[in-house]
Subunit: 197 residues, 2 copies
């Protein structure tokens, strides 16, 4: 099972982190991002979006970090990471949407500007960060984990770009519950870091 | 089962559409959006994000249209709408992420500017629309439906803000496969419209 990967990508790290925590073996295939390998064949044929991560497991080829987390949890993980019942599954999916939208376009995009020079409106990323981080912090003031009162793929999805926020000049200083939650994730058995985390 | 709803919201329409197609009865509770009812108790206690739709089904309270689609499909729908197997479920989830990020922040946000006067950078919404709509059109040039070669919650999630694109001055004229796909959805038994669709 191949993960087409970039070490500095928080989206790729979501998958590496979950696979490490759930003890799912992955073959990491480093993509030459600066050369635009993901924008050319053969990778563009695996993911027409021209993005990574991409997971290829036999005939199954998936783009989007959240879909990959769902696949790995449902196929190789146990139910603690992604509940099979409707209410539990939906509780986790709420956070996958938050990750895909508010976190990606807030702290995630702020980092793209500062660290990689993307032509994104920095003020907009800061505004979005200032909207979503207090909501996450307030949630974590009442819960140790984002969903189900235990670690799930929701934490693996949301944590990376939140923990990397300072690389976009977004401070986590005002958010003590977020900082403690990141600490709890780092203490999970099997945790792996990435540069900046 | 209550859906806290706004008729003009594409996110609320995703849920109304799916419930109609899957014949799942919903009690529609109209929210006074202009008065900010969703930003005040009791609704803000159901969803601290201060957004609608919100689904309340007994003890289960969910924010986020995509999580609500997953819940309704898994609890009350049949497996054709959301596969239970890992690869099928992940194929659908890919499109829920596309809906939450690229579609919401592209044609969805363009409409928020033009129709509701939101202070969002219109040029950014047009750039994002010009990125995602060709990808969706190309996908639909090879498939009749977004996932699984049949209607799923993926179509219910992505279609609304794509079909409403012209309300943000984003033309669907260059995207014949998208237009035909919208037509196919409109022909599904049980289809319900919303203003603009």
């Amino acid at each position: 099972m191949n993960l087409y990967d970039l070490e500095l990508s928080g989206n790729c790290y979501k998958v590496r982190l979950f696979a490490a925590l759930a003890k799912i073996p992955l073959q990491i295939v480093a993509v030459d991002f600066l050369a635009g390998e993901h924008k050319q064949p053969p990778l563009i044929n695996l993911n027409p979006w021209g993005e990574i991560p991409i997971l290829a497991d036999g005939d199954v080829v998936l783009r989007d970090s959240h879909a990959i987390l769902v696949y790995l949890a449902a196929k190789y993980g146990d139910e603690t990471w992604l509940p099979k019942d409707a209410a539990g599954m939906a509780q986790v999916v709420q956070w996958l949407s938050t990750s895909a939208n508010e976190v990606q376009n807030g702290p995630g995009a702020a980092r793209l500007v500062d660290k990689f020079g993307y032509a994104i409106d920095k003020a907009d990323t800061l505004k979005r960060s200032a909207h979503i981080l207090p909501l996450i912090d307030a949630h974590l003031s009442r819960h140790h984990w984002l969903a189900m009162e235990r670690p799930t793929i929701a934490d693996c999805a949301v944590m990376p770009y939140v923990a990397l926020a300072q690389e976009g000049a977004v401070s986590l200083e005002p958010y003590p519950h977020i900082r403690r939650w990141i600490g709890r994730i780092k203490e999970l058995p099997g945790f792996v870091p990435m540069p900046g985390i």
